[in-house]
């Protein structure tokens, strides 16, 4: 397909079927243009806002007097605002954008009922806006991950219903009997989210459960949101992007099946390990710890599958932005799960419970894994929507390295800091304030990592803006990170 001779190509089928297939794909891509760009653009706006809030949160944690006289800028409000902007604004919207595009592609049919999606995006934005405004004005519900006040939650749910009903409709119009593994994950995500959200809202606000069970429901919701919503979208995307970019089928479909069902079964049982040693029946926590350990099965199968698919093609990460981000994300999935197992073991949890380590865990899942995969997919999808290629390879590289180093540094800082914080806390001969003193240098390091991430997001937003304005390159060849000649002349 491309004359440059780089083995970055469409899968083999396209070569056989030739122009019709390609034309059909272009047609489908064009039909997804408005809704997907709408989701992406909103997501980018939330990403920038969330990044600014994050910087504020991070600095205030070690410089508490910064702007503390203003009620809506107090740390305890900005922190949940940041979290919710990232979770519901950035991650959910970008994830839905990618999922919508993948759905249309994989159902091999033009996108129907775009108005459902447009309305969904509008309502979703409204919901997040009201929710974040509510939090800043002091209307938070007080449940972590579900801080949005009721009025925002209802709007989000309406918006979501529109998007999910679209997904189900699209499925009815699909062509071909085969359902690709990506569609399993996406269908799962589209169905799990509303059940999850409804269950969380109902059991906390409509018919509240008693006492500590609210916490159990809250963490059950949070972990399932992380796995069954964000994780499922990211894994589905990785299952599409990796084979697509390197032009090679998934190594083993059988492994993929095992991976999917074990993922659905085990990861949905996690969550209670975050409440370790809390006022709960021990079996609940033990069950979740066991489930967390069992998530190593999907990790192993998915990881092995991706690795075997990539085998021999790893050098392509030098060229393809999509591949580089996606593989980073897929590898982070393994790291995220391993860290999850380590910090949930009772002997370790004794130290890291109630410390920054749990923040590291959330960031590994939401950023190093999910967000990086989604960045990768956006590098693939956006050119196909706007008909332009990314303008600057250098900006993509900067974006990648700032993100990769940023999240790596942040995770290390929070994990190491968290462990030391917990060790000081566990030693009653030390004053409690020692544990805070211990972690402060690491929090400053985290702020530094945050600066890197901020830079990376601004670079990406700028680049994305250029694409939206039609200022990308007009070319039939995708933007590669390094020119092909470079390799010939001894790149290493």
């Amino acid at each position: 397909m491309n004359a440059t001779g780089i083995p970055l190509k469409e899968p083999a089928i396209s070569a056989v079927a030739g122009d019709t297939e390609q034309l059909e794909r272009a047609y489908i891509d064009a039909s997804t243009r408005v809704p997907v760009l709408m989701f992406y653009t909103s997501a980018m706006a939330w990403l920038i806002l969330g990044t600014l809030l994050a910087g504020f949160v991070s600095f205030k944690l070690h410089s508490p007097d910064l702007l503390s006289d203003i009620s809506f800028l107090t740390w305890g409000r900005v922190r949940p605002a940041h979290m919710n902007v990232m979770v519901y604004g950035w991650a959910s919207m970008a994830g839905m954008g990618t999922a919508i595009w993948l759905m249309a592609r994989l159902c091999r049919t033009v996108l129907r009922y775009p108005l459902l999606l447009v309305a969904g995006a509008c309502f979703w934005n409204l919901g997040v806006l009201l929710g974040v405004g509510g939090i800043l004005l002091g209307d938070s519900t007080g449940y972590q991950w579900l801080e949005f006040p009721g009025y925002a939650a209802i709007i989000l749910f309406v918006a979501y219903t529109l998007v999910a009903s679209w997904a189900v409709l699209m499925f009815r119009y699909r062509r071909g009997e085969q359902i690709y593994i990506t569609q399993w994950y996406l269908l799962g995500a589209f169905l799990w989210f509303p059940w999850l959200y409804a269950a969380g809202q109902l059991m906390l606000f409509v018919v509240p459960v008693q006492g500590v069970l609210q916490s159990a429901v809250g963490w059950w919701y949070a972990n399932n949101l992380l796995f069954l919503w964000f994780g499922a979208i990211a894994l589905g995307t990785a299952y599409y992007m990796i084979p697509k970019v390197i032009g090679r089928p998934v190594y083993s479909y059988h492994l993929a099946t095992i991976g999917f069902w074990s993922y659905a079964l085990f990861s949905s049982w996690t969550g209670m390990q975050r409440l370790v040693d809390g006022p709960f029946p021990a079996w609940m926590i033990t069950a979740s710890i066991a489930a967390t350990i069992l998530t190593m099965i999907p990790v192993a199968t998915v990881g092995l599958n991706h690795h075997m698919t990539m085998q021999g093609y790893f050098p392509l990460m030098r060229y393809s932005p999509t591949l580089r981000f996606t593989v980073f994300g897929a590898m982070s999935y393994t790291v995220f799960s391993v860290v999850g197992v380590l910090i949930s073991l009772r002997s370790v949890a004794r130290y890291v419970n109630f410390t920054q380590a749990s923040i590291a865990y959330s960031h590994l899942g939401l950023y190093a894994f999910f967000t990086m995969v989604i960045f990768g997919s956006m590098y693939y999808i956006v050119p196909r929507l706007v008909g332009r290629e990314w303008r600057y390879a250098s900006l993509i590289k900067l974006h990648f390295w700032a993100s990769a180093y940023g999240i790596g540094l942040m995770t290390l800082m929070l994990l190491a800091g968290g462990f030391l914080q917990g060790s000081s806390m566990e030693d009653p001969s030390l004053a409690f304030s020692e544990s805070v003193e211990t972690v402060l240098p690491y929090l400053r390091g985290r702020s530094l990592a945050g600066l890197l991430l901020t830079a990376s997001h601004f670079i990406f937003a700028y680049h994305f803006g250029l694409m939206l304005l039609g200022l990308g390159r007009t070319s039939t060849v995708p933007t590669f990170l390094n020119p092909v000649e470079a390799e010939a002349s001894g790149g290493h």
Binding site: W75, T141, V209, A216, N224, T257, W269, P279, F354, V436
Partner: protein, 354 residues
């Protein structure tokens, strides 16, 4: 995969399995706990909160206290919480049955505050001993109105909480229905008015509808200017007691919220100045004006007073108290060093669970 049906069923099945396993079954197991009472149906723990406490809990949620403070004490074999004197026993599900939302917390950048109310100086508020002995007199969770100036008949409430409250109001009124406890203490109600309201009758009268919860919270935090002969409760610094964690008075909480670093230079807690009001002193300094020193002190002729939200928040904080023994949880030796009144269970000693 051939058809959609197995896929749908699998997706639904895995989700339902987890939902039932991690929320429905626990709800069946510990979702319908009742307060604990002794044989006579007195000495009930825990008791529902209302009024200022409820509003205080909302202030707590709104300002994100939960992101730095946990409210749970882990068992002695699991962690050093008890050695840190954050509590005398581990927290149990029953401690939280009336909380909505429940603030277990997942982070300790600040101390655990499950028992911060138990560490109030004895002359003030709930206190550990009273919690063990006779909180039953007041559904407001053992916050005795001792600090109240209580100018009228209510004066009788002051003094030793344990002694005065021992003669419980009719147990039936409490056990029988949670109604009196849930009495809405007019969150928005004028705090200044409460001390002179019918409140003082409460401890004496077993009237089921007695506005029990109303007077005490306001009494703690709101020394209404007119009615307060005594200076605001307690000193703005923790009272050190040998071998025990420091005691925190309402005044201490206010100063700490207003200017955390004036109390502990190393603290990285944000200050909550937006909950306080700076105003010119009119006739005399208000009784609830903060006792600030150094650079935090207002200029001559001015004073810093808490607004209603701040008072509610402190009332809520002072109500956090899990020192009452629970049958299912072992307390650390000599748990409640309480002047046990006649009616209360004689031995708070280890009562192994299960």
């Amino acid at each position: 995969m051939k058809g959609l049906a197995p896929l749908f069923l699998g997706i639904f099945g895995t989700f339902a399995f987890s939902w039932i396993g991690l929320t429905v079954v626990p709800n069946w197991q510990i979702g319908h706990l009742n307060p604990q009472a002794d044989e006579e149906g007195t000495d009930i723990y825990p008791q529902p909160q209302s009024g200022m406490f409820e509003r205080g809990a909302h202030v707590y949620a709104a300002n994100g206290c939960i992101y730095c403070h946990s409210q749970q004490v882990r068992a002695d074999y699991a962690a050093a919480d008890i050695e840190r004197k954050w509590g005398k026993r581990r927290s149990a599900p029953r401690d939280y049955i009336f909380e909505q939302p429940v603030f277990l917390g997942k982070m300790r950048v600040g101390q655990d505050i499950a028992n911060i109310g138990a560490r109030a100086p004895a002359e003030q508020a709930s206190s550990a001993p009273a919690g063990a002995a006779a909180p039953a007199a007041s559904p407001s969770g053992g916050t005795s109105p001792a600090a109240s100036p209580a100018p009228q008949g209510g004066g009788s409430v002051a003094g030793s909480p344990a002694a005065k409250q021992a003669p419980n109001p009719s147990p039936a009124a409490q056990v029988g229905s949670p109604a009196p406890a849930a009495f809405p203490a007019a969150p928005g109600g004028s705090p200044a008015a409460s001390p002179s309201s019918p409140a003082p009758k409460a401890p004496a009268a077993p009237a089921p509808k007695a506005p029990l919860s109303s007077p005490s919270p306001s009494a703690i935090t709101n020394a209404s200017p007119a009615a307060s002969p005594s200076p605001a409760a307690g000193a703005p610094w923790p009272v050190q007691t040998a071998g025990e964690p420091p005691m925190y008075s309402a005044a201490w909480h206010h100063v700490h919220l207003y200017s955390p670093r004036s109390i502990n230079v190393d603290s990285n807690m944000p200050s909550y100045r937006f909950l306080y009001e700076k105003r010119r002193i009119r006739d005399a300094r208000s009784a609830d004006a903060l006792q600030l020193t150094g650079s935090d002190a207002p200029p001559e002729g001015w004073e810093i007073v808490p607004n209603f939200d701040a008072k509610c928040l402190v009332a809520y904080l002072m109500s956090l108290n899990q020192s009452h023994p629970l049958n299912e949880v072992r307390s650390v030796a000599g748990a409640p060093a309480a002047p046990a009144p006649a009616g209360s269970p004689p031995s708070p000693s280890p009562a192994p669970a299960k």
